[in-house]
């Protein structure tokens, strides 16, 4: 039988507010346990929550970026359950009237097309603390530094049909939240976590199969692997005539498998009800409009501008718009150099390769967009050959000079277009390599093309890359075939 997977995601994203959602405590990651837990975070008797306006604002920005409705009134609810890292015995969250209503996001498919994934809603809530099981023999430690960190939980409709689509969606969300600057999106530190609801059904069937929820997967790769594993697991059970038990499952990256955590039967009754400590919030439409007007250009819009206005390929546009700092770097280089395609080649080529070699991010690049643009202008006006340009790039990266011009000058990398000078080099190389010249002349014409490369290489080397390759080729052809 042909099977079809149905996937929905719940993505928890920590918001990059300075302070917690309901208290003034700092949200910095990695501090001494419980050093960032105030009396509110500790749920001391008599303490009360006050909503962090910045968290609300970031949630609205997110909503606007995914084409969601922002309701006129939003409310907070309590989700009641007992756990040591949940100090109040309830989580303050949103259920009845979340701040972000229905929206959507278009994801790019592998076949080049796009698919629209509906977002059911997104809501604000507080993160729990952490239970620490190591270091405490037979006991559990509780660190409440994270308790009260603002989260938005993004809930999609079950509209993805493969692990690849789910990852594409997740990456789009990641790119949007980092573009907006509302989250660092760091999955390893848990600032972005993903639960996946997975079910399978015979292809063509409308009714959904029983689903399993895979909890807290913490990298794009694991999301893909966990979903693929889960789809396969469910298909195998169904093909053996079994039934899928509705469960919450945990992904184990070491074994690459999902394991049952709890079944639907032991699900908590969370007894949601409106939080009486927080009054309903009226969201001023003028305020929402103001936020909308101030939204930065988002990945999708950037990608579109890169292809339609700058003439980049879909691929380059996709790569360069994937992160905001990269896109902004590129934009600057393109503007200053006056050649978007050249800028795209260098940013996604030489520069990205260098970043990868140094294992650093674009904002740590040793070359400024101004420096790179300066170099590209010299490439454009043929002052340097592309080979020499790479040397200039390396020198700029190594801080051997301030500008491309300075380096070209001091290193003598200016392209030689003077045919007399090049001819002298050609003659010199041919004279030194008489054997190769004879071989060349004896070879069949179709083999000769390859052999020319040898001479070009030698000449370029002799010129330290400054000889104009076009002139070299022309002169060589004339002399060899002479």
């Amino acid at each position: 039988m042909q099977w079809e997977a149905v996937i929905g995601l719940e993505i928890h994203t920590q918001l990059a507010t300075k302070t917690k959602i309901f208290s003034g405590s700092s949200t910095t990651f990695g501090a001494e346990p419980n050093s960032q837990a105030s009396i509110i975070d500790l749920a001391m008797p008599g303490t009360l929550p006050v909503l962090n306006k910045q968290a609300l604002e970031m949630a609205i920005q997110f909503g606007l970026a995914v084409h969601s409705e922002i309701p006129a009134i939003t409310t907070f609810d309590r989700k009641n359950y007992f756990y040591p890292d949940l100090p109040k015995g309830y989580q303050t969250t949103q259920m009845a009237a979340p701040i972000v209503g229905r929206g959507y996001l278009d994801i790019a498919l592998e076949n080049g097309g796009t698919k629209r994934i509906a977002i059911h809603h997104a809501h604000l809530e507080e993160d729990a603390g952490k239970s620490l099981h190591e270091d405490f023999q037979g006991m559990t430690g509780v660190d409440l530094n994270r308790a009260g960190t603002p989260l938005i939980e993004i809930v999609t409709e079950p509209e993805m049909s493969s692990a690849k689509e789910a990852v594409a969606f997740l990456k789009s969300i990641h790119s949007i939240i980092t573009y907006l600057g509302i989250s660092d999106g760091n999955m390893a530190e848990g600032s972005m976590r993903c639960d996946a609801n997975v079910s399978v059904r015979p292809k063509g069937q409308e009714k959904l199969g029983n689903r399993c929820e895979i909890k807290n997967v913490n990298s794009f790769r694991f999301v893909e692997k966990a979903i693929n594993y889960e789809i396969q697991r469910q298909i195998e059970i169904l093909e053996d005539g079994g039934r899928i038990a509705q469960q919450t499952r945990l992904y184990d990256p070491d074994l690459d498998e999902t394991r049952a955590m709890r079944s639907k039967e032991d699900a908590n009754d969370y007894r949601y009800f409106p939080c009486p400590d927080l009054l309903p919030i009226a969201v001023d439409p003028a305020y929402v409009q103001q936020l909308k007007d101030a939204l930065p250009e988002l990945p999708e819009q950037k990608r579109q501008r890169f292809t339609e206005q700058l003439g980049l390929s879909e691929y380059d546009a996709g790569v360069l718009s994937s992160s905001r700092p990269l896109a902004e770097y590129f934009d600057k280089v393109a503007e200053l150099s006056g050649d978007a395609k050249l800028a795209a080649n260098w940013v996604s080529g030489e520069l990205s390769a260098q970043l990868n070699r140094d294992a650093i991010e674009i904002d740590q690049a040793a070359i400024t967009p101004e420096q790179l643009a300066g170099l590209l202008q010299r490439v454009k006006d043929d002052t340097v050959s592309s080979g020499a340009a790479k040397q200039v790039f390396a020198a700029l990266w190594a801080k051997e000079g301030q500008t491309a011009d300075e380096i070209i000058e001091t290193k003598g990398l200016k392209q030689v277009t003077d045919t007399g000078a090049i001819e002298a080099l050609v003659d010199e190389v041919l004279a030194k390599n008489t054997a190769q010249v004879e071989q060349y002349r004896a070879a069949e014409p179709d083999k000769r093309g390859k052999m020319v490369g040898f001479f070009v290489g030698q000449i370029m080397k002799a010129s330290k890359g400054t000889a104009n390759p076009k002139a070299v080729n022309e002169l060589l052809a004339k002399k060899l075939n002479g």
Binding site: I39, L42, A43, M44, P45, G46, T47, L48, P49, V50, L51, R78, N80, F82, P84, P87, K88, G89, Y90, T140, V142, D269, R271, Y272, F273, P276, D277, L278, L279
Partner: protein, 483 residues
Amino acid sequence: MLDLSLTQMAQGLAERKFSSVELTQAFLQRIQIINPQLNAFITVTEQEALEAAKAADAQIAAGKATPLTGIPIAHKDLFCTEGIKTSCGSKMLDNFIAPYDASVVAKLKNAGAVSLGKTNLDEFAMGSSNESSFYGSVKNPWDTQAVAGGSSGGSAAAVAARLVPAATGTDTGGSIRQPAAFCGITGLKPTYGRVSRWGMVAYASSMDQAGPMARSAEDCALLLEQMAGFDERDSTSLDHPVPDYLSQLGTSLQGMTLGMPKEYFADDLSPQTAERIQAAIKELEKLGASVKEISLPLTRMAIPAYYVISPAEASSNLSRFDGVRYGYRCENPVDLEDLYKRSRSEAFGEEVKRRILIGTYALSEGFYDAYYNKAQQIRRLIAEDFQTAFQSVDLIVAPTTPNPAFDLGSNSIDPVQMYLGDIYTLGVNLAGLPAISVPVGQINQRPVGMQLIGNHFSEAKLLNAAHQFQQATDHHLQKPQLT
């Protein structure tokens, strides 16, 4: 000295007739002698009080006195007090030293008041008799066989017995007004949001409200002025200017219309109580007020609505008492579930457990609409009924309770019987309105309270009406005989 009003005390201090230390010592001595009979205090902070009194005297000497400088007060043990046990009347918090001051505590401290200690209450403010306290019931100073009322029974008894001239209370369903009525004192429940809830341990957050309890409306006015005001730490606190209540106490009642809700004078009301209330209403008429009958048709529905909403909120509010971070923890828990179950089972009393269970049930999947939602609908209708009434009357006049204080132990078998006694106070909390209870006489040595209910933020009007009444009568000056 013990019978002076707060204004007279301030005057006496200003004129150096006595010092704050002397005043404080006088009350502390009285507490030492009388409290064992009443059990009104859980904690007496003698040393801290004397230090604060000394500081107050220095301030008075320096000419820097504020209205409450050097005046003794007490706090219901539901308000967090930094460095001092805050028990909430529960075994759960018997070992709990609060790390901070409640807003009300800090405000009164800043106003110069000298706190003598923490008063007894029903466990977590759940009860109408003060019998649910882990520290034992409070006895009514008028008749020690009778309850002092609840949940602010300790504050009411202490004020009535002259153990302290004024005290703070909290009122979620009548917890200031009912014990004030039972003990023959004056107690004001302000508009919801008038006084900050920061640091006041939550019972039912949407109704909890702190207020003053004293021997007269004038004293309550003085106290409320210092307690009230916007607090950014409480999102339900309202940013509404605090008037000078004291200066508004001289207004005549001429031309004022009082509404008598017929439902508050129906079969539930005992004939003797009705008589005292009617007599008091006659006094108000003599002062120039006109009285008309009105209807608050959903009065009886306030009981089920309140006893669904408040336990629902309480069941969630009290979840934090889990034995993990503070408070009681059972011995040798074998695992997490055991820790939770035994800590909570061993440290919560019967009434608290009952309300947690009721509230948990009411919020459960499948029951939510039938109970919680329905109760909220009733709540809205009750609030609307009050608004309709206030279109034709300035204030509502009613009994505070159907009967005077009942005997200790008499309602312990049937909690519902006790809930029914809250019929006249609950509607006010559901609607978020202010109301004041003033003494209007006695039945067999047990005081009777009359309630005046106003629209939102009408505290000044309520205090003035009560003050006018007290200027013309002497019920509030009666005191229990205790030796």
